[in-house]
Amino acid sequence: MSRVEIRDVSKRYGSVVALNQVSLSLADGEFFGLLGPSGSGKTTLLRSIAGFVEPEAGQILIDGADVSRISTHRRDLGMVFQHYALFPHMSVFDNVAFPLSVRHSGKAEIKKRVEEILELVQLGGYGQRRPRQLSGGQQQRVALARALVSNPRVLLLDEPLGALDKNLRQQMQVELRQIQREVGITTVFVTHDQEEALTLSDRIAIFREGVVVQAGKPGEVYERPRTAFAAAFLGATNFIPGRVADRRGSAGTVVLEDGQTIHTLDPLPSEGMAVTVTVRPEKFSLHVGGRPTPDEDEAVNCLAAEIVQPIYMGASITYRVKAGEIELTLFHQNRESRIEPPGSRVWLSWAPKHSILLEAPGGDLL
């Protein structure tokens, strides 16, 4: 149970900047997801916390004490590796007992604790097996049990579910989160799977080229991305370019190239400036026939569009549409069991609070 603080940590490999003055702060017991494409620095940060990588500058504090110059084995960590790194020459019991036995715990105590933790990960009775006799999911649990057995201060997870197939993965996500809550351990979790990060994390940080572009609760970062990169990395989104038409009042107006206008609640720069607004595909409502009547109390955004391509996905239908020159994607719940054919004239509507104004318009597209 510990606080972890990353202060201005930098690391370079030759001319490549892996981490550029990264600062993050993790509360006690928090599950923190590091998310980003490969080479974005998330793994370097995790390995710096583990002590495999020595940062050039900055500090890593666990419970207020700087550990950045301390060797790994003195940091009091637990870590689950992508390929589990179970010791092939040891039984499951000996694997899980390893952290206790290197600390010279008593035999009886080791036995009690190992059995307890194997019970927690639902592997009671598997102690005498060899790692290679276990399935991928079971090996994953052994790795987790081994990482937790000595009650370390911080748990590090390096894409721990990456090697599992999809169904098992979802099941393990739930279990992992449950066990983490039960133990209450501060956890740093690296993944490139955005859905997994959203599902598991209390907070996430999105990395790009060694910099944290945005950090916050999954809901916040998903609903209110600040940059095009953050918006596009966390799920699908649409980018709508336009110019500020009217910034007075509670809802400003942006005019698109074809003359249609959209409303946003975000503060706008001065009139005439080019801006980019992003809207998630599931925020759109699709209307066939006439223009929908706006809600009484809320100025509803409404765009005329034409269906370019419907993609049937069972529970939902993804439509590629064109509003003027702008291509948009929208997810439509498949309630009516009806697919709008290409070429149909439709209306898209959404609430102004879902029109998110991005920083640095245009310049930050992936």
Binding site: A50, H73, D76, F87, H89
Partner: protein, 257 residues
């Protein structure tokens, strides 16, 4: 048909390899001192061998030298292999590349250079010089064999051990060594074999009165060939065969099993 041809070819190959050895071993058990036929079974040459002080002393030297070489070369070589496989060293590629030439340079040339160097360095000749030479000759083999094993798994296991609180020493003895043990055992057998079979360097570096088995056998042959040599060769062949079988059990040569 092709199958039969294949078997015939294989049989011919084995005859080609083993016939001289078989003849030599058989003559060790033949009573005649100058290889006369018909073959009459006798252990007389083994009996005479047991009285041959010089050969026995040479044999003891060979075994002790080979054992010392095994220990020294395996320990140093394993440490070097670890350093090459696990640390980012400056000029890593150059170091690794420099391991191969000693295996390609003829032993005769290496032995000559060692003789000259040891002369100038004041090391001189004798068992200690032979040990140095044998260690130098076997190191590349040990490093490559142990290294191959180390590269077959990444640094994950060692990193994992470190996160669990194991000191580097604990990590080596409880994780790395058990995992690379088959490679280390195979390397040790290689080192033993290289030293035990070594003729050229030992011949150059043996002062009068101190010899190893191969050197002594060579000397005996020059003096006058007796089937005693066949007898001792038979013993060496059997020991080598057993060693080789052990190696192939520990270390799979490319194929499966």
């Amino acid at each position: 048909m092709t199958r039969r041809l294949g078997y015939a070819y294989l049989a011919a190959l084995l005859v080609f390899i083993y016939l001289p050895i078989a003849v030599m071993m058989a003559m060790g058990f033949n009573e005649s001192s100058n290889y006369q036929l018909p073959f009459r079974f006798s252990l007389i040459w083994f009996d005479q061998l047991s009285d041959n002080e010089i050969l026995w002393r040479a044999g003891r030297n060979s075994v002790l030298l080979a054992l010392a070489n095994t220990v020294v070369a395996t320990v140093i070589g394993t440490m070097a292999a670890l350093a090459l496989a696990r640390y980012r060293l400056r000029s890593h590629a150059v170091l690794q590349l420099l391991l191969f030439p000693p295996m390609a340079v003829p032993w005769l040339i290496l032995a000559t250079s060692m003789l000259i160097f040891f002369y100038y360095a004041g090391i001189g000749r004798g068992l200690h010089a032979m040990l140095l030479a044998h260690v130098a000759l076997s190191l590349p083999y040990v490093i490559i064999v142990v290294g191959a094993r180390l590269y077959s798994f990444g640094p994950d296991l060692e990193e994992a051990a470190a996160t669990m609180g194991a000191t580097p020493v604990q990590t080596f003895f409880r994780v790395t060594l058990p995992v690379i043990a088959p490679g280390v055992a195979a390397a040790a057998l290689f080192a033993f074999g290289i030293s035990f079979d070594q003729f050229v360097t030992s011949y150059f570096l043996s002062p009068p009165g101190v010899t190893t088995l191969p050197v002594e056998i060579y000397a005996s042959i020059r003096k006058g060939f007796t089937p005693e040599i066949n007898a001792i060769s038979t013993i060496i062949i059997i020991v080598s065969m057993v060693l080789l079988l052990l190696v192939s059990r520990f270390y799979r040569f490319g194929g499966t099993q």
